[in-house]
């Protein structure tokens, strides 16, 4: 009577206690309300990361790091290897779409106040994940060693040199020298394919483990819920498939450009700017006056950006000590104000 899937299921269950895990998953409930569509955002981030992992490993089969070979190998992948154009564009677009969803996920968690006790660690591991994703984006962008990437990295790392006391030393560590060279490329490559994936895996494991352990923040008060497995999970998978399709469409209709190979002695193309996810900070630093309150403008800017990052990370803690009547107003201001400011600065950076 049992079909093949039943036999397989029983075999695995006898060894992995599948029924037990399914029972746990069945008990896990996800609230259903107007804002619960945002619950899928985190899952999409995870899916897109897996997509990046697979496409990245495939790219590794042909990519050759080196000032003499990086560009040529990416050109080779995009033009000579069967479906190389697809793998490459999927990887480039996937990165951008993933970051969009990372921001959606992060802000939706903030607006739903899901950073509160007992989820402080989840929030902080999430902030670590944000930093890791941005580092992935920054390091990966240089790897094709094309003109745009070279100058964007030069401009982006120049800012590091402005940090007080340790700036120059930090700059040399990041760049592997005083300038952006093949040494920088090697360093970024090691970071991108070895260090960051390891860190991200650990952080994701912690983050997901905590989420599974603690469940959704408003489960108790929810009027209506849905079982995580299989209902929520199936819908999650549907969304992942849609995301996959979207990335494929982008890869086919808007293939990622390669442009010219990086040439250190060439002049920077006009209007060079970093990718959109760094544009807000970049534009902010750009428009600061040279001197403000008696200190160099850029220094204050870096300090401000750093302070904002730390405060964001420590949201669960400072939010807790806010006086009750003011709490909601402050959080709403920080959340919506911060989001609006980021969007405005990004658009401004894009247009200038």
């Amino acid at each position: 009577m049992k079909d093949i899937s039943g036999v397989l299921f029983d075999w695995l269950d006898a060894r992995l206690e599948l029924r037990r895990w399914i029972a746990v998953a069945r008990h896990k409930a996800v609230p259903v309300h107007r804002g619960s569509v945002f619950y899928y955002a985190g899952g999409v981030c995870l899916f897109l990361f897996l997509l990046q992992l697979v496409s990245g490993i495939l790219l590794l089969m042909y990519y050759r790091v080196g000032a003499d070979s990086s560009y040529e190998s990416v050109r080779y992948i995009s033009s000579q290897v069967d479906f190389g154009w697809l793998i490459r564009s999927v990887h480039s677009w996937g990165a951008n779409i993933m970051l969009v969803f990372v921001f959606v996920h992060m802000f939706s968690v903030f607006f739903m106040r899901a950073f509160r006790k007992p989820r402080e660690l989840t929030w902080m591991s999430g902030c670590v994940l944000l930093g890791v994703c941005l580092a992935f984006g920054f390091s990966g962008y240089l790897l094709p060693w094309n003109e745009l990437a070279f100058f964007a990295t030069k401009v982006g790392t120049d800012i590091i040199g402005q940090v007080p006391w340790v700036g120059h030393w930090l700059l040399r560590i990041v760049r592997g020298g005083d300038d952006v060279t093949g040494a920088t490329l090697a360093r970024f490559f090691g970071l991108h394919v070895a260090v960051l994936p390891a860190v991200l895996t650990l952080a994701v494991a912690a983050h997901l483990g905590l989420v599974q352990l603690q469940g959704m923040a408003d489960t108790q008060e929810a009027k209506k819920t849905m079982p995580f497995f299989p209902d929520f999970f199936l819908r999650d998978v549907m969304l992942w498939l849609v995301a996959l399709n979207a990335v494929a469409v982008l890869a086919v209709f808007f293939p990622w450009e390669l442009g010219k190979k990086a040439e250190a002695l060439a002049s920077a193309p006009a209007g060079i700017k970093p990718e959109w996810y760094f544009l807000a900070q970049y534009q902010f630093l750009k428009v600061l006056p040279p001197r403000l309150l008696g200190l160099p403008g850029e220094l204050l800017g870096i300090g401000a950006v750093g302070a904002v990052g730390v405060l964001w990370l420590l949201t669960p803690f400072w939010e807790d000590v806010l006086p009750r009547p003011r709490k909601e107003a402050v959080l709403r201001l920080v959340g919506w104000g911060g989001l609006a400011l980021l969007i405005a600065l990004t658009i401004w950076g894009y247009c200038s």
Binding site: R26, S78, P230, L234, R235, L244, A248, V252
Partner: protein
């Protein structure tokens, strides 16, 4: 006009080495006040290479610039010779320019045989015979604003030479008594060499003096044209000289190269030159002759490779227009172009086999390029088709999942 000359005077004096010596150069100070005909020389000389090297009016014309009055300054006892007669100009300039010991002081590597060469030229021989209408040193180099030939403002700088020679040689009235055509400059400007020099700025391109000589200017003799063209086109010349055409042509004293390609208005050669209906071969050979059959076969080979090269180029552009990377195809296309040039050169052997040996690999390379470009265009379309198929599958799967989710939600088994 007098004002301009007067205004030029302080400039001249300020930079003149004579001024540095705190002595006034009276040649200049007096001439600057004269009418245009006698004062323009002051302005001209300001930029002259001789002045730059420290010479003054007296260095060539004699006399004494320190003297104020015209009689003293332009005293024949002080060596004053005035403006030389047309026929005396070569000797006037040769006073210094044919003197190696003197010239060594200024530029040891400058030749000192110009006067000698000039005496062998058509201009020089006619001048000796009393014809003052011909070109002398000053006609080409100007009298008082002489610059080195490598200086772009020089009248004998490569790009300016057609204009300089054309001053006389394009003048119908002037050339009428000599019965020389006056269309050379016009033809040259439209030619492949003229365009290379004047439009593309390639100063390696030949200009009047390259083939006719500078000072020993004479048209190349009939036997010489092949050698002259062969200076830059040695392979073509070599192939021609070993072809079946060489001996009969030399026997009949036909102009080598120029007979098919013309002298001044040389155009990039096309296969039309070999055409059965209107090609140059028909000037000597009968239409149905074995020679014409060779021409037709050669033409077919060239048209084959040129046609495929053009097709490949167009296909590559179409593919690049769609955003496809045509790096590898372009490399094959470049190889085809190199082979095409070799095939065109091989024409001068007038043997089909030689042309085929160059043209066939070019044809193959161009074909490879075209195939790659066409594959890229097909790939462009296939990507969209593939995406459509994949999207359909994903959509159906999503639909199936949705139905499954709904089913399970309404109480079915998981």
């Amino acid at each position: 006009m007098r004002l301009a000359a007067v205004l030029a005077l302080p400039v001249f004096l300020a930079v003149s080495p004579v001024a540095g010596a705190a002595a006034v150069d009276h040649c200049v100070s007096c001439h600057a006040t004269l009418d245009k005909k006698h004062s323009v020389v002051v302005k001209d000389f300001a930029g002259d290479i001789h002045r730059e090297k420290g010479l003054n009016c007296a260095s060539c014309h004699g006399g004494d610039p320190a003297q104020e009055g015209p009689a003293e300054a332009m005293n024949p006892d002080k060596g004053f010779v005035g403006a030389p007669a047309k026929g005396d100009i070569p000797r006037f300039c040769g006073k210094c320019h044919s003197n190696p010991a003197y010239m060594k002081k200024f530029n040891p590597s400058l030749p000192v045989d110009q006067e000698l060469k000039y005496s062998t030229s058509v201009h020089g021989r006619r001048l000796k015979g009393g014809d003052t209408n011909v070109a002398t040193c000053a006609a080409c180099h100007t009298a008082h604003s002489i610059r080195p030939a490598k200086d772009p403002t020089s009248s004998v700088y490569a790009k300016n030479i057609p204009q300089t020679c054309g001053k006389c040689h394009s003048d119908a009235k002037l050339m009428a008594p000599y019965k020389i055509p006056t269309d050379q400059v016009a033809l040259y400007m439209r030619s492949v060499h003229g365009k290379a020099l004047l439009e593309k700025g390639d100063t390696a391109a030949p200009v009047c003096n390259t083939c006719h000589g500078n000072h020993g200017a004479a048209p190349p003799g009939v036997a010489d044209i092949g050698h002259v063209c062969g200076m830059c086109h040695p392979h073509n010349a070599e192939l021609f000289m070993t072809s079946p055409m060489a001996k009969p042509w030399q026997g009949r004293k036909y102009h080598i190269c120029a007979t098919c390609h013309t002298h001044h208005g040389i155009q990039p050669p096309t296969t039309a030159l070999l055409s059965q209906e209107s090609g140059v071969c028909l000037r000597c050979h009968r239409p149905a002759s074995p020679a014409l059959r060779v021409a037709t076969a050669i033409q077919a080979k060239l048209q084959g490779v040129e046609g495929m090269y053009r097709d490949a180029g167009a296909a590559i552009l179409r593919a690049e227009d769609k955003g496809m990377d045509m790096g590898v195809a372009r490399d094959a296309w470049d190889a085809a172009r190199a082979a095409m040039y070799q095939a065109r050169t091989a024409v001068h052997s007038f043997r089909v086999q030689t042309v085929a040996e160059a043209a066939d690999p070019g044809y193959a390379a161009a074909q490879k390029a075209r195939k790659a470009a066409e594959a890229a265009v097909r790939d462009f379309r296939n990507r969209r088709v593939g995406l459509g198929v994949a999207s359909l599958i994903i959509t159906l799967l999503v639909l199936a999942l949705y139905l499954k989710a709904r089913d399970i939600g309404s109480g079915g088994k998981g």
